[in-house]
Symmetry: C2
């Protein structure tokens, strides 16, 4: 069988499973999720054996210790996957929810009802836990899923997927609902991206290269989880302690993620008193500062920021700092350099808070809080498949609801159109 | 300037207008819509002059009288466009609506707020009224719009767009918010479809050929308005009079549209008493019937239906009829041949009604009503940009809400992430 035929076979099996899966009761889906969790735990030895193959291959290929650590499956990580599955089982089932129901003058009753999307392809890199996360969320939302993990974790991902698919089927999930593409050939992804007759949505999770490849080659709708160049703007009237606390948190609490701050903007009236102290604390926390000319004068340890820096998502302990003359200048900077992900203002001023909320175009706009809260769990969705940087269908943190579509049901008593 | 540069110039002007337009108050937008209506009425002579050019060109090219009639602009049609604009002005503004607002345990208040999508490209054929319809809905939802009408109506469309853009700007809409591509070269569309950096959504309105071209070539998300192969299933326990009334309406009230019935399915227990009478009425109404072997015996005037027929959207007074042995067989037929648009059951049975609603996968699923109601106005949306056959972002009738995206606003008192 050709590679294309192999991929198509799996995709078609997922398609065939999607319809019965869409009608499955929550009880069956939840039972399946709990059995999947149990089987991951009891299949620990098998998982660790598969994982060893990936680890030894990673060492042979000279991957960094940090990369190797991301691949590692141990008791704690297997336990975390199982816990994740059980948490998804506890979440409300979005499928069948009547989002709205209304009556027309002719007595037709119209309801908008959540239904699954159908077949979702997830293309991801590195960490094997994505296999369990993505599979559980797609299943709970009634979708068949085609998983395609990175080659570095191919054995671990394959073993996880195999255990999950087996348990799901045993619990009554239609056979074929959970597919795993174990061909590491890059062309397998290319073939998958063209199968728009069978796959309804592609979600890429990974670095910029992966996302670009997917967007450029997919004939299937893609929901991107792209970069975050996030700003925090400290206004002239900000509470100084609050401003420092929020800025430190947004930069340092977990610098490697998309909702961390990359650029601090500060009003010139606040800069002189606040920036030297804030600079010291950032530098003490290991942050390298790249500043505008005014910043350079106020923070001795800073270096010059280049034009490229303002555009850059560092995902690291590096921060751009720019002193601005007004809220308008801050918003103009954000509009020019931001990636419409998460943007915050720290202020005491009611009017400027409202203006920032209204005029900044980003998936999450904050007043007096850290941008680090852009997250499905922090928003209260109970789960997260990712953070969409699209404007259509889903924007920002995506939970179970964002993995659904809807249909209209219309209840009549013989109505016809005049 | 090259064709590509010309198109890009317009698209960029729309992009630049999108941000201030997104913040425009409803009062300005509504004033603009009313002024646009007024100017269409007072610009009647100019419109009819432009229209004459299209009509004479259409005659030279030997277009059918029906096609020529669709292109014609007269007092009534100009009046209808103006009325449409005024109706859109009366509709509630979706932008800024807080769809949901909730509080997290850490006291963060999170709101999901409707915002415009940004820049929308509309690619359409034939009827000039689409120019006014599409422009008004996009504007009301705060979007800049790039219009590209068919070459047959290029002068009429251009004149309408010019009047509308002028009036909008006079009323305070940012310059450039309404763009019209007057280059009839097909390549203009191809260029537009690749400008994903500036355009957020493409909506094609027209025949199958246009939709296929757009889907195959666009790097911008597309919301399709594709074909409708709609079924009505008459169950064994249906009210006979109701069944006849609904079937006649679904087929004959306006056969040329996507929500008209193309195939009638009827339970064998109902066929013998109902089909001869229904057949007579359909034939009297001018409907040609293509039937399964059982239908052939019950309706003398019918001819054999081919496999292709079951797949076909006739948009005409032609109907496929098939006798089935059960609800399951009817649903299997719908799943195999339907286009997931609008599907109806006529029944008195509670359980089968519920099963049909739950198991038929279509954008609109009816019990005891005509499929002809799948329509933004009939659903109560107050407007319609089209009927989406996508599963993502918008499915079924699309009104103003479906022309929006959303963002999250987060109100804090200094919260940071632990």
């Amino acid at each position: 069988m050709t590679l294309q035929a192999l991929v198509e076979k799996k995709v078609k099996e997922a398609r065939a499973a999607a319809r019965p899966l869409a009608r499955l009761g929550s009880d069956v889906k939840n039972r399946a999720l709990r059995l999947m969790a149990e089987r991951l735990e009891t299949g620990k030895d098998r998982l660790e054996e598969a994982n060893l193959k990936d680890l030894s291959r990673a060492r042979d290929r000279g991957l960094s210790e940090a990369m190797i650590d991301r691949l590692r499956l141990n008791d704690a990580r297997i336990g975390a996957m199982a816990t994740g599955l059980r948490e998804v089982a506890e979440l409300p089932d979005p499928v069948g929810e009547v989002m709205r129901m209304w009556k027309r003058p002719n007595n037709l009753q119209i309801g908008k009802v959540r239904v699954p999307i159908g077949v979702i392809g997830i293309i991801y890199e590195s960490r094997p836990n994505v296999t369990a996360d993505a599979a559980s969320l797609c299943l709970k939302a009634g979708n068949a899923v085609v998983l395609r993990g990175g080659s570095e974790a191919i054995h671990s991902n394959g073993a996880i997927a195999h255990i999950l698919a087996e348990a799901a089927q045993e619990a009554g999930v239609p056979e074929g609902a959970l597919q795993f593409i174990d061909q590491t050939d890059r062309d397998a992804v290319m073939h998958l991206l063209k199968m728009d007759r069978h796959v309804d949505l592609i979600i890429p999770r990974g670095g910029e290269g992966l996302i670009r490849t997917v967007c450029e080659n997919s004939t299937i709708p893609v929901i991107k989880h792209d970069k975050g160049v996030c700003h925090t703007y400290i206004d002239r009237d900000a509470d100084e302690q609050m401003a420092v606390r929020i800025a430190m948190n947004a930069k340092c609490q977990r610098p490697g993620v998309c909702n961390a701050m990359e650029t601090l903007l500060i009003h010139e009236a606040a800069a002189e008193t606040l920036l030297p102290e804030l600079g010291r604390r950032l530098v003490t926390a290991g942050v390298q500062i790249r500043g505008c000319p005014k910043t350079r004068k106020l923070i001795a340890e800073s270096v010059d920021a280049t034009e490229t820096d303002w555009h850059t998502e560092y995902n690291d302990l590096i921060l751009n700092v720019r002193v601005v003359a007004s809220l308008l200048e801050a918003m103009a900077h954000i509009n020019q350099y931001g990636s419409q992900h998460s943007e915050a203002i720290v202020t005491r001023d009611y009017e400027r808070a409202r203006q920032f909320l209204a005029e900044v175009d980003a998936s999450a706009v904050y007043v007096n809080a850290s941008t680090r809260f852009t997250d499905g769990y922090e928003f209260g969705f109970g789960a997260e498949i990712g953070i969409s940087t699209n404007r259509l269908h889903a924007r920002g943190p995506m939970g179970l609801e964002e993995l659904t579509s809807y249909k209209f049901i219309i209840l009549g008593d013989g109505q016809i159109r005049e």
